[in-house]
Amino acid sequence: MLAVNFLLLAAVLFSIGVYGVIARRNAVMVLMSIELILNAVSLNLVAFSLMTGTADGQVFALYVIAIAAAEVGVGLAMVLMIYRNRRTIALDELSEMKG
């Protein structure tokens, strides 16, 4: 199996995730797209680990998973707070930083 398979797959997932971050209106959707990105990165790391035969890549991938979990937890907590305050989580309407 060629190495580029995993890497290309990861690139595709990454691009789709980028599209999702840009295009999606719902904050939760955006977080999901970020998950896509992170997974693509993990896949990449594992593929590198496989290519080099060391375990470093897998270690990193586990780290990414852990961080992703923490991030989703905090992120969703923030989304909930925003929802409580603004009654909406449509990013279009959350433009207080406009200026």
Binding site: M1, L2, A3, V4, N5, F6, L7, L8, L9, A11, V12, L13, F14, S15, I16, G17, V18, Y19, G20, V21, I22, A23, R24, R25, N26, A27, V28, M29, M32, S33, E35, L36, S42, L43, V46, A47, L50, M51, G53, A55, D56, Q58, V59, A61, L62, Y63, I65, I67, A68, A69, A70, G73, V74, L76, A77, M78, V79, L80, Y83, L91
Partner: protein
């Protein structure tokens, strides 16, 4: 894309086929994640993607990572997502304009990024063949974790702690 799939010597056909099927499914699911109009459907499609990723991990001889993926991502993160969707009163069923105004801007950016990455990858690793080694024993992983990467391991535990506390603090009703 000349050598995405097999047909050379020493190529593990089964592995490639399995990879290809799973990859197709993953991509299809990812596309649905970012294009579906139903938030819950998007979450479910994400589950599919995550599962596919786990399958790919197994194909990549990284069983521990695969299991962790399933456990953490699909088991915890996706549940968290679903809870988040529920708590933010997402509309059950179809919902119009889940895309923001400038969604069209994302296409060229994504395509550019894809093109760039693809080119770089192909340029760098175009002809590399993955070694046909067996899966790494989990001991090797733990050797790394408790050896070289000990400090990051401990840091991760702090991060998780902080995240948990932070989530609680943020989300409580005061």
């Amino acid at each position: 894309m000349n050598a995405v799939i097999l047909a050379a010597d020493g190529v593990n056909v089964a592995q490639n086929v399995a990879f290809g099927i799973i990859a197709a499914v993953m991509i299809f699911a990812a596309l649905n994640v970012v294009t579906t109009k139903n938030v819950v459907h998007a979450a479910l499609w994400l589950v599919v993607v995550l599962s596919g990723v786990a399958a790919q991990y197994i194909l990549a001889a990284a069983e521990f990572v695969a299991i962790s993926q399933v456990l953490v991502y699909i088991g915890a993160v996706m549940v968290l997502f679903l809870f988040g969707i529920m708590l933010t009163r997402a509309q059950i069923g179809k919902e119009t304009d889940l895309n923001n105004k400038n969604w069209a801007l994302g296409i060229p950016v994504a395509l550019a990024m894809l093109g760039l990455l693809a080119w770089v990858i192909l340029d760098a690793f175009g002809d590399d063949v993955l070694p046909d080694s067996g899966p790494l024993p989990t001991v090797a992983l733990s050797d790394q974790y408790l050896g070289i990467y000990l400090v990051p391991f401990l840091a991760i535990s702090f991060v998780l702690l902080a995240a948990a506390i932070g989530a609680i603090v943020l989300a409580r009703k005061d």
